[in-house]
Amino acid sequence: MSSIVNGFVRAFGLIFSFDAELWRIIFLSIQVSGTALVLATVLGLPLGAWLALRRVPLKGLWISLLNTGMGLPPVAAGLFLYLFFSRSGPLGFMELLYTPGAMIIAQCLLAFPIVASLSQAAIAHVDPVIAQAALTLGATPLQESLAVIKEGRYAILAGVMAGLGRVMAEVGAIIIVGGNIAGYTRVMTTTIALETDKGNFELAIALGIILLTLSLAITLALRFFQRLGQAGSTANLWA
């Protein structure tokens, strides 16, 4: 018990002493996950909107595939990407393995189905009268689609936040394609796994606390956006 208490005491010491190694790991984590999320949103939101707003052949099949992708095991994603990016793989010439670039691609692969699928659901659930209202006010088909997407913005944002939650907490894929190289591809989750293996709990606990704080912030943001969408108002959002 005392070792756990000591671990926490030292962990807080690391956090508040602004330890350079700790903050390098945190910044890389945010950089990798943030870039992956932006890419996943840039690709996933238009796909979700297209599936929700247009008559698409085999629409049910595409939506089912995206829903399946939401549960894609990170280690499986990591394994496939490893095979693609390894020297003998079809994308080996890109020399991406064990780089932050490979980690971004891995996390993008995990977040993309979440963002696309939840965006599709969010836009499909917008009341059809919104599209009609836009048309009655003189909207072009593109303006009509944008009005519907805008109406579903809070639910879409909740989907993006869910994607962020997934990539921030993920370890299986990035440890395979990133290699957990100190100062280069080492992020919070892979560091926690490594330091726990080594019995060095201070850094692991410190990062665990920060990760939990970020998870809490993501959950609160998710709740905020969901309630904003339901209420259509900023009043009583935290009730």
């Binding site: 009341d127 009268v129 919104i130 009609q132 209202a133 836009a134 048309l135 009655t136 006010l137 003189g138 909207a139 072009t140 303006q143 009005a147 805008k150 109406e151 809070y154 969408g229 209420a231 259509g232 108002s233 900023t234 009043a235």
Partner: protein
């Protein structure tokens, strides 16, 4: 001055059920027509077809200005508007709801602000300009729907039950707005109502629908 509108042999079927049958009529510019009829008789379907929200299965909808037939779906749609019974208010502020139709037409921000102020004053919502639209009462929401339509200064107004499901005070305000529009804007107005007294007060001409057929008085 409002546009002239002519429909000939208009027909619409949903899932094999005929909703509109052989509707023909000529609507003169600047006049106010009130359409009455039982629920399910095809009034709202007729309005959606006239507002070019969906195509008819048979017959034609034609618009004229100074005797010349108008063409072009978007150009024409931007000269007319339909206030839907459910209104379809966007989940944003009152200001942005009213500004929407102007913004998509590329109107400059200063002019948008001036127009929004003017129409919100006309419908009695000036004090709520920056309120969230979804927080308005049902009567205020109906008034916002009309303000949003007035802002784009249409030449033909379709009002689908603008006073349904609201209290008498709000219904009276909306009726006075419609009468004001009739006098000031000289648009062609078509309105659906179930209130015969209101139809008499507002309409220049009364029309009836029954089983998908349209008759005038």
């Amino acid at each position: 001055m409002g546009l002239e509108l002519a429909i000939s042999n208009l027909a619409k079927t949903y899932n094999g059920v005929p909703i509109l049958r052989d509707c023909s009529f000529a609507f003169a510019p600047g006049r106010t027509y009130v359409l009455q009829g039982p629920n399910g008789s095809g009034k709202s379907t007729l309005f959606r077809l006239l507002a070019l929200l969906e195509p008819p299965d048979g017959g034609r909808v034609r618009y004229f200005a100074n005797g010349r037939e108008l063409a072009g779906d978007l150009e024409l749609r931007r000269r007319i508007t339909l206030v839907l019974p459910q209104t379809g208010i966007f989940n944003t502020t009152v200001f942005k709801n009213v500004a929407y139709g102007l913004k998509i037409r590329g109107v400059k921000p200063a002019q948008i602000r001036a127009t929004v102020d003017e129409v919100l004053e006309a419908v009695g919502l000036a004090r709520k300009i920056f309120h969230r639209a979804r927080e308005l009462s049902s009567g205020e929401t109906k008034r916002l729907g009309i303000a949003r339509a007035m802002a784009i200064n249409p030449e033909v107004f379709f009002l689908d039950e603008p006073t349904a499901n609201i209290d008498p005070a709000n219904a009276e305000i909306i009726e006075s707005i419609i009468l004001h529009m009739k006098q000031e804007q000289q648009a062609t107005i078509l309105m659906i109502t179930h209130d015969p007294a209101q139809a008499e007060r507002v309409g220049d001409d009364l029309l009836f629908m029954k089983d998908g057929g349209l008759t005038g008085t």
